[in-house]
């Protein structure tokens, strides 16, 4: 796997994160040297437990860390061959990097359409282009079209998630950093959202970096995956390989051998496997 990583740095990935360390509040070390590559037009997923550093990694890329008193203290983040560490989130949006935050974060007093239009805030290419993109978003999310005048605070969780993704699309992004799109959604909806993500990737050539808990979904729809644990990348590989990996099956998919373990029979002292230490 190390060869793969070395290759990636030479083949001009769209985003390459090199060994970054992130410290919150000047004292709490969250990422302890994370490196990853996102190839152009690819779907890459970050997997791992809560607190493993997935969200932090996304925020490090989109530079939203500072708002939460975090900072990248070591390493570098390169986007299209350019270091982006010092840019503001809005500069990044202009360059095509947009993040969809966990927990959806819609402007709840605005309507769905207004929410979508806020996504085009940084664009300077005129009303018509924006209108065209709005139609495009509705094409992908027909549900939103139905709800276009609904106030975002009162639509369902799935629709809010769609609104958030749609809003990101309105910025005409090259890359979308997507944090937990499946959170709190019913399985059918999760499937629907992932289908749309896949379509976006295929038709609009949007590169996607995804942080997910839903390992099964994420690996089915992505091409490459990284597993984070405790602020480090502990495993990476093609998604299809990861899906077949016994450890991933055991620890992330809940399949042991061929049998699914019952939640009833988990012992509370169960000691966990750790890849490191």
């Amino acid at each position: 796997m190390n060869e793969k990583q070395q290759d990636a740095s030479t083949n001009g990935a769209l985003i390459s994160v090199n060994n970054i360390e992130v410290i919150y509040d000047r004292v709490i070390l969250v990422l302890k040297g994370v490196s990853l590559e996102v190839p152009e037009k690819g779907i890459v997923t970050l997997l791992g437990a809560n607190g493993a550093g997935k969200t932090t990694t996304l925020k490090a890329i989109s530079n939203l860390l500072r708002a939460e008193r975090g900072e990248v203290t070591k390493g570098s983040i390169i986007y299209r061959g350019e270091r982006v560490d010092a840019m503001t989130p809005s500069e990044l949006v202009v360059r095509g990097v947009t993040q969809v935050m966990e927990g959806r974060h819609c402007f709840e007093h605005l309507t769905v359409e207004e929410n979508l239009l806020t996504g085009a805030y940084t664009r300077r290419d005129g009303r018509a282009a924006i209108q065209a993109d709005l139609e495009l978003v509705y094409e992908y999310f027909p549900r939103l079209k139905e709800r276009r005048t609904g106030v975002a605070g009162y639509i369902s969780g799935g629709e809010q998630q769609m609104t958030a993704v749609g809003r990101a699309l309105m910025a005409k992004p090259t890359v979308i950093l997507l944090d937990e799109p499946s959170m709190g959604l019913a399985p059918t909806l999760v499937e629907e959202i992932f289908e749309i993500i896949k379509k976006l990737n295929e038709n609009e050539k949007v590169t996607i970096l995804l942080a997910e808990q839903n390992t099964n979904m994420a690996l089915r729809y992505s091409q490459y995956g990284y597993i984070l644990e405790n602020g480090r990348v502990v495993m990476d590989g093609d998604s299809s390989d990861l899906l077949q990996n016994e450890d991933v099956k055991e620890f992330y998919l809940g399949v042991s051998g061929d049998k699914r373990k019952s939640f009833r029979n988990v012992k509370h002292y169960r000691r966990r496997k750790r890849w490191l230490t």
């Binding site: 000047r26 004292v27 709490i28 070390l29």
Partner: protein, 375 residues
């Protein structure tokens, strides 16, 4: 660096929840208290005791009051000046009309009056929050001052509306020679009025403030404080765990006003010696709000640190300027320079540490505890 916490294990919850669980802190605070009680009176320096320390204590107490309400219970108020005025004029009238009562009981009664008024003006907090509540409390500020300005009784019909602290003794007139409590006469020192010594005034103020600060700390570390913080952090969640919102908020208003009221009484009796409503105007309310913002919301010590910053920095800069700038810059330029530096340091503090000086201190302490390690 100076922390040696090894061996400081807690074998009871009481020890674990002590105000200063670390022995070093405990010793430090004890030392500070001893120094505060002993050194200024021994130095005999009126300037240090009066305008510097007493002022700091009085406004620190007011800030503490507001911090209980705003920093802990999350209810923004711009009425602290008004509540101080209630305490000030209330205490003035008590002393004037009932000289038998010992002064510290007057302080408590004055605080209770302020608390009653606070409850009244806290009622809107059930329905409104944030800026809206601030505006509602602003009304209390205007209303209260208007009353004191226009009802002559409160100032004993003084033509200028000035309440001037009568001469009072610690235990009141009953403890004078020959009184019912005559046995207290030898220690019944003068604590206000022109003949009270600065030492007596200072020590009385310090004692009141130390006791009230301790009580406040006890409150905020107990269930009351937790209920306040719960309301502050997430009112819906607070309700769902059985906290009664109105009761909790009103209690915060009452106790906060109590503290402001006592601070107002101290202002008149042990600090300045007299006051009119100008002393408790809107600017005062804002100043107290600034104190807790700069000092640190939700921190007892922050209240005093913030008060120290607001109260002591301007004279310090002024003294600095008069030594440094003498002969080089005109008085006007220096005066404006002071303002610029003062304003600049506020911006600096809030930019470096939006959670105020108390948080800075906490971080510094954490660093010292970890010393020599960075984390």
């Amino acid at each position: 660096m100076f922390y040696r916490e090894v061996g400081q294990y807690k074998s009871s919850y009481r020890a674990d929840q002590a105000i200063f669980p670390i022995t070093n802190d405990r010793i430090g605070v004890m030392l500070i208290l001893i120094v505060a009680f002993v050194v200024p009176p021994l130095s005999g320096n009126q300037y240090i005791m009066g305008p510097i320390l007493t002022q700091l204590l009085v406004f620190g107490l007011a800030a503490l009051g507001l911090n209980l309400l705003t920093g802990y219970a999350g209810q923004v108020s711009l009425g602290s000046g008004g509540f101080m005025a209630v305490g000030a004029f209330g205490c003035y009238n008590l002393v004037l009309r009932l000289p038998e009562i010992p002064i510290f009981i007057d302080f408590i009664l004055a605080g209770l009056m302020a608390a009653a008024v606070g409850i009244l003006f806290g009622i809107p907090s059930l329905r409104i929050k944030g800026f809206y509540l601030a505006v509602a409390t602003l009304a209390s500020q205007f209303f209260l001052l208007w009353i004191f300005d226009h009802v002559g009784w409160f100032t004993n019909y003084d033509p200028a509306g000035v309440a001037s602290a009568p001469t009072t003794t610690l235990f009141g007139s009953l403890a004078e020679e020959g009184g019912v409590l005559g046995f207290l006469a030898p220690i019944n020192v003068l604590v206000s009025g022109p003949n009270a010594t600065p030492e007596a005034k200072y020590i009385l103020t310090l004692s009141v403030v130390v006791v009230l600060a301790l009580l406040a700390k006890n409150l905020v570390r107990g269930m009351t404080g937790r209920a306040w913080m719960a309301i502050r952090d997430f009112d819906i969640a607070a309700e769902i765990i059985g906290i009664r919102p109105l009761r909790t908020k009103l209690l915060a208003f009452a106790i906060s006003s109590f503290y402001c009221g006592v601070a107002g009484a101290l202002y008149v009796f042990t600090y300045v010696g007299n006051a009119d409503t100008e002393a408790f105007d809107l600017i005062r309310s804002f100043t107290i709000l600034f104190m807790i913002i700069i000092g640190g919301l939700g921190s007892i010590m922050g209240s005093f640190l913030g008060a120290a910053f607001i109260v002591l920095l301007p004279p310090f800069l002024n003294i600095l300027a008069s030594h440094f700038g003498e002969g080089t810059l005109s008085g006007a330029t220096l005066a404006n320079l002071e303002l610029i530096i003062f304003g600049g340091s506020i911006v600096f503090i809030l930019a470096v540490e939006p959670q105020g000086i108390a948080r800075m201190w906490q971080i510094a302490k954490e660093k010292l505890r970890q010393w020599p390690f960075p984390y």
